[in-house]
């Protein structure tokens, strides 16, 4: 590991991509989709600022990266997404 400033690289670089940084850990509330109400309009996918909604016919939340901002729940025209407190 680094002991002095001289051991450091020139600029902070991580040798792995930011995919390893699972931002889902930041979440306090998580979006849950009620597939009975979902009409597959994909508005939630369009609005997700973190590309954390995957379309697989129906939309699915990628809980590894979803930070729980709740924009999808707010935008859903059928109120099919509810925000539930994380355990």
């Amino acid at each position: 590991m680094f002991k002095t400033y001289e051991d450091l690289p020139l600029t902070p670089i991580t040798n792995v991509s930011s995919r390893t940084n699972k931002t889902g850990l930041w979440r306090t509330f998580k979006p849950v989709i009620d597939y009975e109400k979902c009409i597959k309009c994909y508005i939630c996918w369009k609005f997700c600022p973190d590309v954390a909604i995957i379309i697989n016919d129906f939309p699915q939340i990628d809980y590894d990266y979803c930070k729980g901002c709740g924009i999808c729940a707010n935008e859903c025209p059928k109120n099919a997404i509810t925000m539930e407190k994380e355990e």
């Binding site: 020139l10 600029t11 670089i13």
Partner: protein, 393 residues
């Protein structure tokens, strides 16, 4: 090849023969003809690069950063409000240790709206971690672009630089400029190699978060690199001289060795000042001019050396920091405070917004300096020159 070109064309030729590979461009008066000329080169098939038309200067610098991080030699140019819009990204470029080279046409900040020469735009970027060069003529503009890439891309430096030229005095004025042959430039300037770069096949995180226990350590590395750049600038100038027969000092001294009073000039004003020195020398007045070519890194040793032999230093600042004095005046005094030689230093605020700094104006300043040298400063440490209603000038 010798060609009659404007300062802006000299910047464009510099980018071309330095083989800049990515040119993010956003136009602003009086910079526009720089990126226009580069577009011409590319349309004519004389220059191979990626030309990115961006929506603002903020984006122009963001594109430079990304391209430089991917290992491409990048060039852009801007002016005044464009440069200040880039401000945030300028910090990023130096912090990410990217050797971006940029042209800046020194222009006044509004309001009052102005497109004319003034150094406030670049002086206000003092703390961004960029090297700053100020040119006296179009030849120096072109030569400095080539030198800047060599300095910036050195593995011991890896910092960005911008090259300043006075609006219209250089940007739109034509002079005979020697444009070095491509093969010779290629020999002088090897291709840009970046060790760790953006690569879609090998993704990495750039500009990561650092906790307080390591932040200062990264900043200290930048401080060290900027300190090392003083020697590097001189070394590259010597190598350039060997190859192309032209050399440049960080502090360009003109008839200073036996001068009683020396005046600091920056940019094109220095040429006029040298003329005035010659005229006054004939009248037996021992004045000299020191042209500050590099503002960052600041040539502290050269200033201290100069102070050993003179009793008076007059600083002609083409910018003003509201609240206290011109920046170059403040920096020179700061450099001298802990040295053994402390000549009187007086600040002359001149030429803001392109107000002409004529030989007559400079002669009055030099005469005032000689008087202050013997009689002392009294209350006028900072004086605005040529302001209607202030009198005396």
């Amino acid at each position: 090849m010798k060609k009659v070109v404007t300062g802006n064309e000299a910047l464009a030729y510099g980018a071309k023969i330095a083989r800049a590979e990515v040119i993010p461009a956003y136009p602003i008066t009086p910079q526009t003809t720089v990126v226009e000329k580069i577009a011409d080169f590319m349309a004519d098939g004389e220059m191979k690069a990626k030309y990115i038309k961006v929506e603002s200067e903020h984006s122009a610098m963001a594109a430079c950063i990304a391209a430089s991080n991917a290992g491409a030699r990048t060039f852009t140019a801007t002016s005044a409000h464009g440069l200040t819009l880039m401000h945030e990204l300028l910090f990023w470029a130096s912090g990410a240790r990217l050797p971006i080279v940029m042209g800046n046409i020194n222009r006044a900040m509004g309001p009052p709206w102005s497109v004319w020469a003034d150094h406030l735009d670049s002086i206000a970027q003092r703390d961004t971690g960029w090297m700053q060069f100020y040119c006296e003529n179009n030849q120096e503009v072109l030569d400095t672009v080539i030198q800047a890439y060599k300095i910036c891309e050195d593995k011991d430096i890896l910092l960005p630089a911008f090259i300043n030229e006075d609006a219209f005095y250089l940007s739109h004025t034509s002079e005979l400029v020697d444009i070095p042959d491509q093969e010779r430039v290629d020999e002088f300037l090897p291709p840009y190699e970046l060790q760790l770069k953006l690569d879609i096949d090998n993704p990495m995180g750039f500009g990561s978060l650092v906790m307080p226990e390591w932040y200062m350590e990264f900043r200290y590395k930048i401080a060290e690199a900027m300190d090392r750049s003083r020697k590097k600038i001189q070394q590259v100038s010597k190598e350039f001289n060997k190859m192309f027969g032209r050399s440049y000092e960080m502090l360009d001294l003109y008839r200073c060795e036996d001068a009683e009073a020396v005046f600091i000039a920056v940019g094109t004003m220095a040429s006029t000042a040298k003329e005035v020195v010659d005229t006054m020398r004939k009248e037996g007045k021992d004045v000299g001019v020191a042209r500050l070519r590099v503002f960052r890194p600041f040539p502290v040793d050269e200033i201290r050396e100069l102070a050993k032999t003179v009793d008076f230093i007059g600083v002609m600042d083409r910018s003003y920091s509201f609240g206290y004095g011109g920046a170059i005046f403040s920096e020179i005094k700061a450099a001298l405070y802990n040295s053994d030689y402390k000549p009187i230093v007086k600040d002359y605020i001149v030429g803001l917004g392109g107000k002409d700094v004529t030989p007559k104006v400079l002669e009055k300043i030099f005469t005032d300096g000689l008087k202050v040298r013997t009689k002392g400063l009294k209350d006028k440490e900072i004086e605005w020159i040529g302001v209607k209603g202030l009198g005396g000038w």
